[in-house]
Amino acid sequence: MKFPAFKYLRPSSVAEAAAQLAEHGDDARLLAGGQTLMPVLAMRLAEPEVLIDLGRIENLRGIALEDDALRLGAMTRYVDLERSALVAEHAPLITRALPYVAHVAIRNRGTIGGSVALADPAAEMPACMLALGAEIELTSTEGNRWIAAEDYFLGLYETAREDTEILTAIRIPLAPERRVGFYEVARRHGDYALAGAAAVGDVEDGRIQGLRVAMFGCDDLPVLAKTAAKAAETGVLDGAWLEADVSPTSNINGEAHIRLAQARVAFRRAVTDLLGVSNG
C-alpha cells in the first residue's frame, strides 16, 4: 500500500492549474482533500503520472452570498460548511446532511468539490446538489461554464466534467420559503448510505409543492425521484412509485427488492421530515 511514483504539482491559481491539466490531460489527477484519492493511490487502483494539488489556490475556498445564490468554492472543506451560518440559513439541507458524511477527521479535510467531482452514487453531497437545483462551475484553459446538477451527473462515477476541466464552484439558488428533509439508511454512523433521500419543497396548508427528492445509494448515480415526488404532492408519501425512478441492483448489501424497500423507507422518512412530522 505505497503510492506509485508520481510528479507533484502545486499551482497557486486556477489558471495555472488549468494549464497544467491541459498539458497532462488524462495522465493527471487533481488532488483536493485526498480522502478518496489517497487510498485509491495507496491501493494502486489508479496510477496517475501527475498529481495537481489544488490546496494552495486561495480563491477556490470560501462561502459567499450573492444576489440570488449561495456560492461555495470547490475547495471548501466539509468542516467549514458544517460550521457556516450562511449555509445553515440559505442551504440548511447541506447542514442537515453533513453529519452523515464520514467522520470528523475526514470532514476536516474532505471538500465539497471533491465529493461532487467524484460523484459517488451513495454520497450525500451530490444528492443534495441535485435536490437543491445547484449549478456547477467547470473551468479549463478555454474558460468556464455553468452546468445544472441535473445535467452534470451522468452515470457511475461519470459526470459531464471533461478531463481538462476543474470543478471550481457551486451555486445554490436562494429560496427562502423552501423546506428541507433528509434521511439515510447506513449500517454504521458515517458510512456511505445503503439508501438515502434528500428532499426540498414548499409546504402550504399542509400540502407539499415543488417537491424535489434526490435519492442516493439506490442506483448508479444520484437520481431525482420525479415520479415518487409527484405522487407525494398528491399525498402518497410512501414512495410507492419509486421503482419508476430508481432501479437498485442486487449486491453485497442485499437483493434488489430489499434495497428498493429500503429506498422507499428513506424516501418516506425524508418527506415526512420535510413536513415536520415525526418519522414513523
Binding site: K2, M43, H189, N253, G254, Q262, A266
Partner: protein, 789 residues
C-alpha cells in the same frame, strides 16, 4: 490462598503501566524497530482462489533499481523445511505439506507466490507488479456444504474428498430421547467468517548473523517461545541461537498466534542475503493472509419436556477451514468448541455432536478470541428462548430450571466439559436485577403498541480458560502450557520481573507488577516487568486461551513469594531471628511481634548485593527467584458468566440499534478490577462485531469481496452501547490465587445475547434469524419470509 494475597496493590484498579507511553506516541512496535542496511519485502500474491503456476518471470522485477532479490516459492522452499498443520491426538487429520510461498499450486486468494526484497517498500511493490506469472486457473472449492457431496471437486490431489477431519461426541441414545420429547426444535445456524483486525498489523524484522548462525527476529506475536522453536526447526538452526523479541504489540486476539508463510520467507531472505529484512502487512494483505475464524453451518436440534426441561441435544457442524489446517496449532478447536459449548451450562441428558472440518480455497483458519465459544453459546440460547416461547415458560425461568446441578460437586456435561465451581444462579439473578428486567419488559410492550420493535436477549456462557498441557503437549505441538517467572531484587529495594507471559494490551505486565509488589510489600510502580523476549524471559506459553492471569500472574505471584522468603531469610540472618517472625510492608522489614520497622528493604538489598560480609559466615544471599507453574489437576479453568442485550430493530430498514449491554462475569479472584472490566468490554465489542457487522464474504469463485475497511465493517464507538459490568468474585479455593481468565468472556456471550435480542424483537412479526452477522438485508429477508408464510 494466602492472607497476603489480599494485600494492596492486589485488588486495586492500577492503570496499565504502558498506557501513558503508548498514548504519548512513545510505543515501540515492530515497525519502529530498525536495523542498519535493512531491506523491505513485498509479496506478489495469488489473485485466484486456486491456480497452477505455469511459469514465473522475475527478470524485469529483479532489474528494477533498488531491488536486491526476487524470490519465488521454490527459491524459499530450498532454504526452509516445510510443515504440516497436524495434531497427534487426531491422527486422521492429514493436512498436506506447506511451504512459505506457494510451490506449483496456489490455494487461496492472497497466498504468497513471490517475494521482492528491495531498498524501500515502495520499490518492492513497484517490482512485484512487474513479475509476470502464467496461471492456469483451477476450479475453486468454495462451498463447504456442496464440497462434501460425493463427486465434488477435490481440493488436494490424492485425497478422496474435502473432509479434513470428522469429530464426533456423545451417543446415539439421543435418538430415543428426541422421540420421548414433547417439543423438538430444529434450526440451521450460519456464522459468517471473520477475523480479529488488530490496530497493528502483523509485522516482522529478521536479522541473521552468519558468523554465529544466529537469527534475531522482532515480531508482533503472542508466543515468542513457540516462534523460537519453529524458526529454529524450519531453518535448521540451533534453538539457543534464535531470539524472538516481541516489542509493543498493538492487539492480537489470536491473529498473531500461528506461524505465517510470509514471515518465514522474510527470515529465509535475511539469511540468504545477510541483511536485515522487514515486512509489515498492509490492511489488504491482512484481510487475505491473517488467520480467519468462525465460518460454521450448524444444524442443531434440541428436545424439551413439557415443563421446559432439556431432554436431548444434537449439534451437527460443518466447519469451513482453509486449504490446510493451520500450523502449528491446527484448525480443529473451533469445531470442538461448537459441539462442546452448546448449552454447556445446562443439564443435557442426551447428546450427540459431529463437526466436519472441510478444506476450502479460502484463508487459513486459526484461533480468534473465544474460539467457537460464542457460537455454541448462541445456538443453545436461541433454541432455549424459542422453547420458552412455545411452551409458555418465562425465558429466565427456563434457564434457571435447566442449569447443571453442582450442589453435590463437580459434574461433567454430556459433551464432556468438566463443570466445577460455577456460579450460574448468582450470575443470572444479578443480571436480572442489573437489567431491571420487569421494567424493560414493560417498556418493550409499551413501545410495541407504537410500532417499535425492541428486543431483550440473555445469554449465559461457559469459558474454558488457562488450559493445561494436555491438548498441545499430547498433540505433539510445541506450545508451552507453563509459564516461568524470574523476580530480581535491585539494590534499591525495587524489583524487576521477567516472565514467559506476554502482553498485547491486556495489562498482563501491570497485573504481574501488582502481585509481585504485594508479595514484596512495595508499590506496583516499584516493579518493572519485561515480557516477550525469548532469550531473556523464562520459557512460557505467551498469550492465548485467557491464560495470562490464571497462569502468567499466578507464576509471578509464586516467584514474588519465593523472593519474599529469600529476603526474609536474609533479614533474619542479619537480625539473628527467625524469618517467620518478619514481614515485608511498605518497603520495610517489619518485626511481626512489635510491628516495628527494623530495616528498609533497600538496606537489606544493598547488604545482599554489596556487603554480604555483614552476614553470618556461609550464608548465601539469594537475590532473585524463579518459579514455574502449569495447571496439572484439570484440563482448563472453567468459568461462566451471562450477558444481556437490549436493542431496537427498525423493521423497515433492518437496522439494529443497540441500547444497552450488561455482563455479569464470574471472575474468581480479582487482581485488577479496571483491567478486568476493560477486557470484558473489549471482548463484548468484538462479539458485537461478529453479531452485526464483520464478515469476510467470499463469492462462489473463492474471491474475497470484503478486503478493505470500507467493506469489512468493524464496530465503531458510535454503534456501541454502554456496557455495564458487574463482577461476581468467587476465588476458586484451591492452592492458587484463584483468578479465572476473562479475556474471552465478553466475546463468548455477546453474540448470543444480541442474536437472542434480535429474535425477541421480531417475535410479533413471526420472524426469526439464525445467521450472523445480522445484516439489514438478512433481517428484512427474515421478516419477508415470515410474512409470506
Amino acid at each position: 490462598m494466602s492472607i497476603a494475597a489480599t494485600n494492596a496493590p492486589i485488588g486495586q484498579s492500577e492503570r496499565r503501566t504502558k498506557a501513558k507511553r503508548l498514548v504519548t506516541g512513545r510505543g515501540r512496535y515492530t515497525d519502529d524497530v530498525t536495523a542498519r542496511r535493512v531491506l523491505h519485502a513485498a509479496f506478489l500474491t495469488n489473485p485466484f482462489a486456486h491456480a497452477r503456476i505455469l511459469s514465473i518471470e522475475t527478470e524485469e522485477a529483479a532489474g528494477l533499481p533498488g531491488v536486491e532479490r526476487v524470490f519465488t516459492g521454490p527459491d524459499i522452499a530450498d532454504a526452509c523445511n516445510g510443515w504440516t498443520g497436524n495434531h497427534d491426538l487426531f491422527p486422521k487429520l492429514d493436512s498436506p505439506q506447506q511451504y512459505p510461498l506457494a510451490v506449483d499450486v496456489a490455494r487461496w486468494q492472497g497466498e504468497g507466490v513471490a517475494m521482492v526484497v528491495a531498498e524501500t517498500r515502495a520499490i518492492a511493490e513497484d517490482a512485484a507488479a512487474l513479475i509476470d506469472v502464467t496461471w492456469e486457473e483451477l476450479p475453486a472449492v468454495a462451498d463447504p456444504v456442496a464440497n462434501l457431496e460425493p463427486g465434488a471437486t477435490v481440493l488436494h490431489p490424492g485425497k478422496s474428498d474435502n473432509l479434513a477431519l470428522e469429530l464426533r461426541l456423545g451417543t446415539d441414545a439421543v435418538d430415543a430421547a428426541f422421540e420421548r420429547s414433547t417439543l423438538v426444535l430444529e434450526e440451521s445456524f450460519r456464522f459468517g467468517r471473520h477475523t480479529g483486525v488488530p490496530l497493528e498489523t502483523r509485522a516482522i524484522l529478521a536479522e541473521f548473523d552468519p558468523s554465529e548462525q544466529r537469527l534475531v527476529i522482532h515480531q508482533s506475536h503472542q508466543a515468542p517461545h513457540q516462534q523460537q522453536e519453529l524458526f529454529a526447526r524450519l531453518l535448521d538452526l540451533d534453538e539457543q541461537n534464535v531470539r524472538i523479541v516481541c516489542p509493543d504489540v498493538g492487539g492480537a486476539f489470536g491473529i498473531k498466534l500461528q506461524f505465517s508463510g510470509d514471515e518465514a520467507a522474510v527470515a529465509v531472505a535475511a539469511r540468504i542475503l545477510g541483511r536485515p529484512v522487514k515486512f509489515v502487512a498492509d490492511r489488504l494483505e491482512s484481510f487475505t493472509s491473517d488467520i480467519h475464524a468462525r465460518d460454521h453451518q450448524v444444524s442443531a436440534r434440541m428436545g424439551f419436556a413439557v415443563d421446559g426441561k432439556i431432554t436431548a441435544l444434537e449439534v451437527d457442524d460443518i466447519y469451513a477451514i482453509g486449504p490446510y489446517s493451520i500450523y502449528p496449532r491446527a484448525s480443529i478447536m473451533e469445531g470442538n468448541h461448537v459441539m462442546q459449548l452448546t448449552a454447556a451450562s445446562y443439564t443435557v441428558p442426551a447428546f450427540r455432536g459431529r463437526s466436519r472440518i472441510v478444506y476450502q480455497n479460502k484463508g487459513l483458519m486459526g484461533h480468534y478470541r473465544a474460539v467457537g465459544q460464542p457460537l455454541g453459546c448462541a445456538i443453545g440460547e436461541v433454541l432455549l428462548d424459542r422453547a420458552a416461547r412455545k411452551l409458555g415458560v418465562d425465558p429466565v425461568e427456563i434457564r434457571r430450571q435447566n442449569y447443571a446441578d453442582l450442589s453435590a460437586g463437580p459434574v461433567t456435561s454430556s459433551a464432556g466439559v468438566a463443570l466445577e465451581g460455577l456460579v450460574l444462579h448468582e450470575c443470572l439473578d444479578t443480571l436480572v436485577e442489573r437489567m431491571d428486567l420487569p421494567e424493560l419488559r414493560a417498556e418493550q410492550t409499551r413501545l410495541r403498541s407504537q410500532g417499535r420493535y425492541r428486543g431483550i436477549g440473555i445469554a449465559g456462557f461457559i469459558e474454558q480458560t488457562g488450559p493445561g498441557p494436555n491438548y498441545y503437549g499430547k498433540g505433539g505441538i510445541p506450545v508451552s502450557a507453563q509459564d516461568g517467572c524470574v523476580v530480581r531484587l535491585e539494590p534499591s529495594g525495587k524489583a524487576r520481573v521477567f516472565s514467559g507471559a506476554t502482553d498485547q494490551g491486556q495489562g498482563a505486565d501491570t497485573a504481574a507488577a501488582q502481585v509481585v509488589a504485594a508479595a514484596l510489600g512495595i508499590q506496583a510502580d516499584d516493579v518493572r516487568v519485561t515480557l516477550g523476549d525469548s532469550e531473556v524471559c523464562p520459557y512460557g506459553g505467551g498469550a492465548f486461551a485467557s491464560r495470562g492471569t490464571s497462569i502468567g500472574v499466578e507464576v509471578a505471584w509464586r516467584a514474588g513469594r519465593r523472593l519474599r522468603s529469600q529476603i526474609l531469610e536474609l533479614a533474619g540472618a542479619l537480625l539473628q531471628c527467625d524469618a517467620e517472625a518478619l514481614d515485608l510492608r511498605d518497603g520495610q522489614v517489619i518485626e511481626l511481634a512489635t510491628s516495628q520497622a527494623r530495616f528498609s528493604l533497600e538496606d537489606v538489598a544493598r547488604i545482599g548485593h554489596f556487603r554480604p560480609y555483614e552476614l553470618p559466615e556461609g550464608f548465601q544471599p539469594m537475590m532473585s527467584a524463579v518459579e514455574h507453574y502449569v495447571p496439572r489437576d484439570k484440563p482448563t479453568v472453567v468459568g461462566n458468566g451471562i450477558q444481556g442485550s437490549y436493542l431496537e430493530v427498525d423493521v423497515e430498514t433492518g437496522i439494529v440499534s443497540l441500547l444497552n449491554h450488561w455482563v455479569v462475569p464470574d471472575c474468581g479472584f480479582v487482581i485488577n478490577p479496571l483491567l478486568l472490566d476493560e477486557q470484558i468490554r473489549g471482548g463484548v465489542v468484538q462479539g458485537i462485531g461478529g453479531a452485526l457487522f464483520e464478515e469476510l464474504v467470499y463469492d462462489d469463485q473463492g474471491q474475497l469481496l470484503t478486503a478493505t475497511m470500507a467493506d469489512y465493517l468493524t464496530p465503531m464507538a458510535a454503534e456501541i452501547p454502554d456496557i455495564d459490568v458487574t463482577r461476581i468474585e468467587k476465588p476458586m479455593g484451591d492452592k492458587t490465587l484463584g483468578a479465572k481468565g476473562v479475556g474471552e468472556a465478553g466475546t463468548a456471550g455477546a453474540v448470543g445475547a444480541v442474536l437472542c435480542a434480535i429474535n425477541d424483537a421480531l417475535v410479533p412479526l413471526g420472524a426469526g434469524i439464525a445467521q450472523t452477522p445480522c445484516t439489514p438485508a438478512r433481517i428484512l429477508t427474515a421478516i419477508e419470509q415470515a410474512r409470506n408464510e
